[in-house]
Symmetry: C2
Subunit: 352 residues, 2 copies
C-alpha cells in the first residue's frame, strides 16, 4: 500500500477538486492510500456536499482505511511568497504533509499548490539528496507518441545554471522516465538551437562534452524546439529559464489553437451540428493534449517523492498526480536517483 | 513602384514555388515589381511548365515590366555553412540580389534560403546600421487577435547576448510592428519567467531597467511564455537562444495538435464524412495558425530591407513575404530604425 499525502488546500479549485480526486484515487487504485492533509472542517464540508454516489464511495474508503483526513491548522495563501509561507506557517498543509513524508508516515507528497512554496518546503524538510547541486522541477509534455511524454527539466526553479547541474538533471530525468513512463533507455537531449555540437550558447557548449561522458545516460546530442512533441526524445535538459519559457509558450499555443478551433467549428448553426456529432473526436484530442493525464511535475533531487500539479488541476489532474506519486514511490525513484548521482560522482572521480 | 529582389533559388521548393509566388505577386500587387534572381535557365524552365493561366499571367507581367529575371550564375547549396557560401560564391543568387539592394536597383530582398547565409550576405554587403550592436531576425507569431501578430526577436542569430542589444531590438521590433502591422504604440515585453521585475535570469535583470528608461518604446515589463499567443504584447525581446527555442517549440506543438486532430476526425468513416463537411472550418483554422500569412522574418538592423521566409515556404509564403517586403520598404523601416537607434544613443548620452 503506497501512502500519498495529498495537499487538500493547494490549487485554484481546492479543496473541492482535490477532495473529489482523492476519493476517486482512494477507491479506484487498489495500491494507494490517500492521506488528505488540510483544514479538517473545510475537507469535511466538501465531503458533505459531494454527489450521492461519490459521498458513499468516500464513506466506504474512510471505513476501509484507504482515505484518511489529517488536520493541518494553517492555510498558505497562494499570493504569499514561497519562502514566507514556509517560514511563517509551519503548520500549513504543505509543511504538515511534507513532514509525513519525512517521518516515513507517507510515501509521497502531491500538491496543486504554489510550486515555489512546495519546493521550499521540500528543501527545508526533506533536504536535497547528498551530492545534488540543485533539485529541479521536471515538466511532462505530451508528444505525438501515446504514452511517451517528454520529461523537460529544469522548468523554472533555477535560472542561471551550471553545466554540472544539467548533467545531474539528465540523470534524474532518465530515472523518472524509466520508472514512471517505462522507457527502458530514455533518450536524453540537450536543448539547443541546432543539432550540431557547435550550435548553442555557452551553457550548451560547456554541458555537451559532460553529457557525452556520462555513462549512465543515453545522450543523443543536441535537440531543438522542433523535437519537443515528436516523441523522439524522452528527457530534455535545459536551464530553468528556457524550460519555463518553453513550457508556457507551448501551453499558450495549445490554448490559442483550441480557441481558434472552437470559434471556427461553431461559426454557423450547420457547423455547430457537425461539431456536436464530432464531439467524441474533439474530446479524444483534448485528452491527448492534456498534460493532466501525465500526472504533474515531479520535484527531483530531494529525499522523497514530491509531485507538483498545475494550479488549475481538476479532480482528474489530482487523480493522475496521485497515480504518478504511487508509481514514483513504488519504484523508488528518489532512492534510484540517490544511487545514480553517487555512482556518477564516483565515476567522475575515478576518471580524474 | 517597390522593386523586390526575390531569391529564386532559396528554399526547399525552389525554384518552383518561388516562381509561382513571384508571378502571383507581380500580377496581383499593383505597387510591386518583382526581380527574380537566380539561374536564368532554371527560372525559364519553371516558367515554361507553369499551368496555362499562370503562364499567361507571367508573360504579361514580363511584358509590362512588373516581373524581370536577373541572372545569377552560381547556386548556394543549402548544406554549406553560411559563411562559406557567401565567401566562395560571390555570384550566387543571395549575393547578387543583395547587391541590387545595395546599389539601389532594388528596394528589398526576399529569400526562403538559408537564414545564416542571407544574414551573412546582408552583413557583408549592406552592413549593419551605424550604432547597431547586432542585427536580429524577428519572427512573426500569430496570436489570438487577428492581424495582431507577435514580433519576437532575436530568434536565432545571437546566442549569448548583452542587455544593450535587447534594448535596440525592442526599438527595431517596435518600428517593424508599427510600420508593417499598423500597431500605433506597440507594446514591448521582456521575455521572462514571471511578470514581477524580480523574476528572471541575469540578462533579464540587467535589461529591465534599461528598457524602462528607453523613451521611444512602450515597455510593459516582463512577459511570460503564456503571453506569446494572447495578442497583448506586440514585440517580445529575448536572447536568440531563447527566441529560437520558443519558435521551434511552438511550431512543434502546432504540428502535433494538427496531426492529432487529423487522426481523430478521420478515425471512423462517419467522422470522415463530418470532417469533410467541416473542411472550410479546418481550412480557416489552418489559415489563422499559418505564419506564412504574416510574410516571414525581417532581418532588422542592416542598411536595407531583408525578409527571410521559412525554408519550406509555398508560393503563398513567398507571396506574403514579398508583400511584407513591399510594406517594409514603402514605410522605410530601415531608415526609421536608423533614426530611432541614433536618437536613443543621443538620448542616452544626454542623460549621462
Amino acid at each position: 500500500m503506497v501512502r500519498i499525502a495529498l495537499d487538500a488546500m493547494g490549487g485554484d479549485f481546492a479543496p473541492k477538486q482535490v477532495v473529489i480526486g482523492a476519493v476517486e484515487a482512494a477507491t479506484e487504485m487498489s495500491d494507494a492510500k490517500v492521506l488528505l492533509v488540510g483544514q479538517m472542517s473545510a475537507i469535511q464540508a466538501e465531503l458533505e456536499v459531494l454527489p450521492k454516489e461519490l459521498k458513499a464511495r468516500a464513506q466506504s474508503a474512510i471505513e476501509k482505511g484507504s482515505l484518511e483526513i489529517i488536520h493541518a491548522p494553517e492555510v498558505a495563501e497562494m499570493d504569499e511568497s514561497a519562502a514566507k509561507t514556509i517560514l511563517r506557517k509551519p503548520d500549513c498543509s504543505i509543511n504538515v504533509a511534507m513532514r509525513l513524508v519525512k517521518e516515513g508516515r507517507a510515501d509521497a507528497f502531491v500538491s496543486a499548490g504554489n510550486s515555489g512554496a512546495v519546493a521550499a518546503s521540500a528543501m527545508f524538510t526533506l533536504k536535497r539528496i547528498d551530492g545534488v547541486h540543485r533539485p529541479a522541477i521536471a515538466m511532462i509534455i505530451p508528444t505525438k507518441v501515446p504514452g511517451k511524454p517528454l520529461v523537460l527539466l529544469d522548468s523554472g526553479a533555477n535560472c542561471d545554471c551550471k553545466p554540472e547541474w544539467l548533467v545531474q538533471w539528465a540523470i534524474m530525468g532518465s530515472v523518472y522516465s524509466q520508472q514512471v513512463f517505462n522507457q527502458k533507455e530514455p533518450v536524453v537531449g540537450l536543448m539547443s538551437i541546432g543539432e550540431e555540437e557547435c550550435k548553442g550558447n555557452q551553457l550548451v557548449h560547456d554541458t555537451y562534452p559532460m553529457l557525452k561522458e556520462a555513462k549512465s545516460i543515453n545522450f543523443r546530442g543536441n535537440m531543438e524546439g522542433h523535437d519537443v512533441c515528436e516523441g523522439t526524445v524522452d528527457v530534455a535538459v535545459c536551464d530553468g529559464f528556457v524550460g519555463n519559457v518553453i513550457l508556457k509558450s507551448v501551453e499558450s499555443v495549445a490554448k490559442a489553437i483550441g480557441s481558434w478551433l472552437k470559434k471556427e467549428i461553431t461559426a454557423t448553426p450547420f457547423r455547430k451540428i457537425l461539431a456536436l456529432l464530432l464531439k467524441p473526436a474533439f474530446k479524444a484530442l483534448k485528452r491527448q493534449m492534456d498534460p493532466e493525464m501525465y500526472g504533474g511535475a515531479p520535484l527531483l533531487g530531494v529525499n522523497g517523492t514530491v509531485i507538483i500539479t498545475h494550479g488549475n488541476s481538476s479532480h482528474k489532474g489530482i487523480y493522475h498526480a496521485v497515480r504518478a506519486g504511487v508509481a514514483a514511490a513504488t519504484n523508488d525513484v528518489s532512492g534510484l536517483i540517490k544511487k545514480s548521482i553517487a555512482e556518477y560522482a564516483d565515476g567522475a572521480e575515478t576518471s580524474k
